[in-house]
Symmetry: C2
């Protein structure tokens, strides 16, 4: 690539970014769009524009806001996990800035002033163009100038160690602060017990768990909730909820129809058959009300039966103080250690209920099977894609779907299809991959959503790094350096969600609930965001000394990412769960992995340059391993569990154990519907879904 | 080796064994020898011959006694560790008996009836003699008879799995029973805390530990004992104790001398210089009494100073119930997990005090350095031995030590020395090796004696197995099959300790304490006994299918070993500590290792025999790995720590926390000598050294 075309492409995408930013500034001030640009604030019951100057339409106002927001704001709006994501972005940004400040002024002049004999490559053309003159490749073999590049390797490494160490310490403090908070958090009073052995004494599971834990914790044990097989009850519950929604929709349509010339209105109807297109036509409101009437007692019966008959071999056990719960979640309880296995309970909203009752060895076997599948996917993913491409050649398409023939026979469409069919197959595969990996991670038997996301993210990262060719093609000099401006512009301006929201509002939404569903934002999606960032980090850090010009682009990518996502996290995205920074060790290890890859690459590169002092670089990967070892021994244990020191901090109030217990009951076994002893009605509840509750309050007002 | 010489050698050593057994039956009935043959019973305050018929001088009576003793007897006399050792011996014995019952009648006829073409080896001589006809080597390549040998491999493997599984379960039960015993065991109320961070708040270590744990365990925390640097106080204490002993000795000599013609007696004297041979002559009693007078206040001052000024960064922390202590020993306490590291406390008598204050990273570094040293020792141990042999050739000896010349010049001595000098160097090395390995294991920073012994035993095993040539030479067909009879005979008859005891009694012992010191038995010495047994097991199991005739010898080795050591454990050896069976996982893994080695050997051997179905044996090592995995997941965790379920069993009495605390005070900081608050006088004590205390009682009576 020559320098001018590089600059053209860079400035083009920068201009697109600026246009999108101006668009964002304009669109976000319109009150009708507030639910698209400020959903997180709205859900928290805050005024969207409170304290902000966005109304001035200054396209840079959001930058000022993002920069002036503190870490405490992020934690308050979006939790510790989001704060940790910013620590990651700022740490990597810091590494690139500190590296760039030294490497650019040092290495670029050294490289460009080297008198190179003009190495001629095999094609007979001079292999170096403008950009390459600025890289280590331009140096002569055995040049004394290589010393500067070696020193740079040490600089980049030590800057990374320093910032990573500070970051790990900081994240550990964030986690500790959150865990020792005086707020009552239900999951801090519970442990998850799995692999409950078969009891021969004729106890029910409930009695068995109670007896077992009461004998060990006579004073602090509160109650247990045995995990049940909820498949049937969930099905009835969902059917019931769907009916209720349908009734509300139908009533809204009916009342709307009354306002029009016809004051009687038109009662909505639907058909019972396939997709509502065939079969008998019925009055929707009457039919659904009848169905609700029919399903409600059925659900109650199913709930009772489930609680009594479908108890599985795992349970949530509650203690009336969090120190005991934290300790109990870490201890070996049984003499046979593959029974009564315990862990600190995850939040109730991120429990993967169907995984809880998988047995120890089932989990182990599933894990290894999944690893094998992922390994095969990484190695051989081109095979199914190739097959699909082969099957979907135009000739085959025409044979398989003759009705497409008139379309396909048009010359332009034909050209496009022929050129892009294989790429489309690849794109579809890559789009589905994260979902597939998340599905696999859940199939491992992992008990919590956040853990599954971490596992999927790890798999995605390995896929990216190990398919180096794909990764390099996709990222270096194309996505990573140029197009990410466009991506950030789209992220910030939320053009696509905005259009979808307005279309839905116009044509589909009938009730308030429909409308809310239309704008309710997704979570950030760490499972794909994090591996992509890590991949870019890996590539930039690997080339940082070889071609230092890449560093500013890495810095811009992470710096701008920090700004854009700071805005999005504070105003848009609503996290689905909180894992108190458990993502960090995962990130830390992979950043270090990237660093080691860089160091090993450099060992090789110095050897290629025939630099006789190249062994001097060998200590670097050893330092990195030592650093990883020390960090893991010093910090990691606290991310796996809750230190007693932290859990033993005082609470601001005596915990209401009944509410804590209820917060873990899955919705299909809803307490409001049952008169079972353990499920009696309660007035308040612990704020598990702050967003939704706060929204409900604002709606009431 | 031909068959007749084999039989001769076998019968010779058997006859020696029988002679030694008769000698044992005769000697052990003499009352004067009771302290040599029944020290364990005497120390427990029991009648040596109580309930036994040894007085009948029936040389087989001890066998009946050993066979009729129950596991409970062993635990009562010698603890769980000894019982576990017998589980090991009987499991291996069982493996060999069950294998032998099937393999001998099946394989020997198959091997001997094979019409072998008479393979002629490179020396031109028929390579097979009588014994070899009974082995797998005698089969023709690709013979269908190899199927029987393959089936035998499966039989041996599955017999091993079955017995090992039963044994692991049984040992786990033994451990659980001991740990849930209603007796108060001081170590179950304590945890060992290391890596206490530096406190900037001006607290003393004691206050720091108290504050930290009191906040987490407000109701169950009792007290802490900060580990101190006892080097100086130990030195003074030992000096004082030596003086006291000297006084007692001198007084005894003085009073003895009075009985003789001279009624005034002769006051013993000694010289103050080098080894008591040079310098001023002083009256021993006066001199030592004066010294005691001088040292006692010095010791008290040193004790106070040590407790106040020399507190180190580790502590024993006591809780007033064992459930909390068991839980606290397993939990992550601190946010920074390389500080405040905890573990369940070992018994006070096996604490390695000087290791307790080693910091986390010091322990890690020491561990790796020790591993490196052991690795180098295993690989290159022949080099120092070779050097020593070279230096100690006769010519060199004469040069270095001219005074030896007249001895060395004698023809017979010269021949012997020339032939055996290198072997002597090797023997000396091998004799010192276990001590060296134990020293290295302690240098790793391991906090307890039993753990250090396990570590040393592991290292010794690797040394034996990896130096295969040395191992095979030493054991197969020489030690393992023939000479072990002699070894067992010597063990049983205790000829050597008997002679040493009588010599000491006659010439050295002056006081009761001296006498007791002379007969006080050692412990069994698992650090060398176990690796030797494991090595023999490895060799026998590896050859079990190739040469099934080895199996009976293996069975006799372990069966006879069981009998002899049952006798010795019940009557002779006094264990120095109790680890509640923590040795078992160590044994289990190594037995499985031997099995896998056997299976891999067989894969190779079947391939050499060009047996086309040899891949059918490949599943076996995989089964073994799976078996190891399941065992480790099912049982191992409980051997690393104390399950809460087990610790929460009721005690028969409220524990006296003061006594528990005192039982951990090292002798040099003896409570009787100090009026410090934490060290006030107490009347009773928990039975930490049951042997010694019981002995003291019998002496009083």
């Amino acid at each position: 690539m020559d320098f001018s075309s590089f600059l053209t492409s860079l400035s083009t995408s920068f201009i697109i970014f600026v246009i999108l930013m101006i668009l964002f500034a304009w669109l976000s001030t319109k009150p009708g769009n507030a639910v698209v640009y400020y959903p997180n604030r709205i859900l928290k019951g805050m005024d969207p524009w409170e304290g902000s100057r966005s109304k001035t339409r200054n396209p840079f106002a959001w930058i000022r806001e993002a920069l002036s927001s503190s870490e405490q704001d992020v934690i308050a709006m979006s939790g510790v996990d989001s704060a940790v994501f910013f620590v990651f972005l700022s740490t990597v940004f810091g590494i690139f800035v500190l590296s760039g400040i030294v490497l650019l002024p040092l290495l670029l002049p050294i490289a460009i002033t080297e008198r190179n004999a003009g190495i001629v490559d095999s094609t007979g053309k001079n292999a170096f163009d403008d950009l390459d003159k600025l890289s280590m490749a331009h140096l002569n073999n055995r040049s004394a100038r290589l010393w500067a590049f070696m020193a740079s390797c040490y600089w980049v490494s030590f800057v990374s160690y320093f910032l990573l160490w500070r970051a790990y310490k900081h994240v550990s403090d964030l986690r500790a602060t959150a865990l020792k908070s005086p707020e009552v958090k239900p999951e801090q009073f519970a442990i998850l017990v799995r692999d409950i052995p078969y009891s021969s004494e004729g106890y029910s599971r409930n009695e068995q768990v109670d007896t077992y834990f009461k004998s060990m914790y006579p004073e602090t044990y509160y109650k247990s909730m045995v995990v049940t097989d909820n498949k049937e009850v969930n099905k009835i519950y969902e059917e019931l909820e769907a009916c209720k929604k349908k009734v509300r929709r139908a009533e809204s349509i009916y009342s709307d129809s009354k306002k029009e010339p016809n004051p009687q209105g038109v009662r909505p109807t639907h058909r019972l058959g396939f997709l509502g297109l065939l079969g008998k036509e019925v009055d929707t409101i009457d039919y659904c009300n009848e169905k609700i009437h029919e399903l409600t007692p059925k659900l109650e019966a199913a709930q009772k039966e489930t609680l009594r008959e479908k108890q599985l071999a795992s349970a949530l056990v509650f203690f009336n103080n969090r120190t005991t719960a934290a300790a109990a979640g870490q201890c070996v309880h049984s003499q046979i250690v593959d029974t009564w296995t315990v862990m600190n309970a995850p939040e109730s909203r991120q429990l993967l209920w169907t995984n809880l009752s998988k047995t120890y060895y089932a989990r182990e076997i599933r894990q290894y099977v999944v690893y094998l599948i992922v390994f095969l996917t990484i190695c051989f993913y081109m095979i199914p894609i190739g097959l699909i491409s082969a099957l979907t050649t135009l000739a085959n398409l025409k044979k398989l779907a003759p009705f497409l023939k008139p379309v396909v026979d048009q010359a332009e469409i034909r050209t496009v299809l022929e050129a892009y069919l294989p790429q489309i197959a690849l794109i579809v595969f890559l789009a589905l991959l994260p979902k597939f990996l998340l599905f696999l991670s859940k199939a491992e038997g992992i008990p919590s959503e956040s853990h599954a996301v971490r596992a999927a993210s790890g798999k995605y990262f390995y896929f990216s790094v190990l398919n180096v060719k794909y990764a390099i093609c996709r990222l270096i000099y194309t996505v990573s350096n140029l197009r990410f401006f466009v991506g950030y512009g789209l992220e910030l301006s939320r053009i696509v969600p905005l259009i979808i929201f307005h279309l839905k509002r116009k044509y589909l939404c009938k009730t308030e609930a429909d409308l809310k569903e239309a704008w309710l934002p997704a979570e950030l999606g760490y499972a794909t965001k994090v591996p992509t960032d890590l991949l870019i980090l890996t590539i930039v850090i690997c080339y940082s000394v070889i071609a230092p010009l890449i560093i500013p682009f890495g810095a811009i990518y992470f710096g701008l990412g920090w700004l854009v996502f700071r805005n999005q996290i504070l105003k848009v995205y609503v996290p689905k769960y909180e894992s108190y920074g458990k993502m960090w060790p995962h990130l830390h290890v992979r950043i270090l992995g990237a660093l080691i890859l860089f160091q090993i690459t450099m060992v090789g590169y110095f050897s290629i340059k025939e630099f006789i002092y190249s062994p001097l670089i060998i200590p670097l990967p050893i330092f990195s391993l030592l650093f990883a070892f020390v960090c893991s021994k010093k910090f990691y244990g606290f991310f796996q569990t809750t230190g007693i020191e932290v859990a033993s901090h005082d609470l601001k109030e005596t915990p209401n154990m009944d509410l804590i217990f209820k917060s873990f009951i899955p919705p299909s076994l809803n307490p409001d519907k049952l008169d079972d002893e353990r499920l009696d009605d309660g007035g308040a509840s612990y704020d598990l879904r702050p967003g939704l509750d706060a929204y409900a309050q604002t709606q009431d007002v």
